[in-house]
Symmetry: C2
């Protein structure tokens, strides 16, 4: 499948690399290609700059948000939550129309330091805002509840015996995304219903971040025991 991964950070790299490894034709989208390639310093989390990652992933192309989106059959939003709507506007509503859009972002507001607050809670969510802003796209909220390495390689933790979630208004789009998640190795993908369920998975983040701090690692995930 032709897939655009919007965002060049840790989540974008992990998803682009894994998807390319599975044989998909992947283009990473960014605001400014030259600026992205010119970065030489690690990001604030200590991850290497995109150019370093790119050198070991020659099959993954880099393009503007719009060019990446235009040629894609399926899109992944792997931008920061605060920048997601702008990135998708740059990608262009026409380039999103009719396509599955996997939204992995969280509405985290770091402007007051750590821990971040959420800029959407309770009666709205980033997933809903994206679906509302791009009504022709087929948004599926997924993968926003675990760290990037486990999103794409769940079997590295407890042989994959843990859970992930999808929510969205389009049943066929969710089927596509569930199949994609299963191709990563996920064995317990729980469908939470329509896109309003993104409220719930996004609001897990304060708990998740606290747990990361106490466990001193992001390499954990939750399993729904039932």
């Amino acid at each position: 499948m032709k897939i655009a991964v919007l965002g060049t950070g840790m989540v974008g790299q992990a998803l682009a690399g894994r998807l390319a490894g599975l044989g998909h034709e992947v283009t990473v989208g960014t605001r400014d290609v030259a600026a992205t390639l010119a970065k030489t310093a690690p990001d604030s989390m200590g991850n290497p700059p995109y150019a370093v990652w790119s050198a070991t992933h020659p099959r993954v192309r880099l393009a503007t948000f719009a060019a990446a989106a235009a040629s894609a059959e399926l899109l992944v939003n792997a931008t920061l939550g605060v920048a997601s709507i702008a990135a998708l506007e740059a990608a262009g509503a026409d380039n999103l129309a009719g396509k599955v859009l996997v939204d992995t972002a969280n509405p985290l507001d770091f402007s007051h330091g750590f821990p971040p607050t959420l800029f959407v809670t309770d009666t709205d969510s980033l997933g809903e805002r994206i679906q509302g802003a791009f009504p022709q796209s087929r948004v599926v909220k997924a993968l926003n509840t675990l760290t990037a390495a486990l999103m794409v390689n769940p079997k590295t933790l407890a042989d994959g015996d843990h859970s992930v979630f999808v929510s969205g208004n389009d049943a066929e789009a969710k089927k596509t995304v569930i199949a994609l998640l299963e191709s990563f190795g996920h064995t317990d993908v729980i469908d939470l219903g329509d896109i309003t369920a993104a409220r719930g998975t996004e609001m897990i983040l304060p708990w998740w971040l606290r747990l990361m701090g106490m466990l001193n690692t992001p390499m954990f995930n939750l399993k729904v025991v039932r």
Copy 2:
């Protein structure tokens, strides 16, 4: 131990019954003893009225919030979140002073229907409000992330292979609560740190409620796989 369980609903009944079964001297606290005993209808969730439950649990006493709290060494807040501060005020700050107070309540606001919203998010929590309102008490947030039956009998699901959390400012109080949870059968009690971690566990509720709706049962819990 002499324990006061504040609240006569499903959570209060489950905790009082289990604690009494473990040999503790349990008094359930309520606003109005006569009114509680006079109820003959099930509650809005279909649970039997207190008097019916009480008949099968003769060792558990019923008293006013203040009388229950006065004689207790440890207290459990099992009231609805919207009523918790008022119930604890009725119990009396003096009767809480120096004592461990296990807060199991969630800040759910049902005034706009289902699903409820949270009346505290992000930079505050019900656990913190209770600790702030009763600074002499030793608040430990616990058990607000699973259904009452599993709070007290975790082994009935997957032989107890799932997780619960404690948070609070008093290390000794948390030790006491962890031991109590272990006496119920919990084997993975995760200490999330100080009482501000209640923000995280309370904000899980929208996800939890959605999952309950999709699974069509509250008999599930999360396990932190790490």
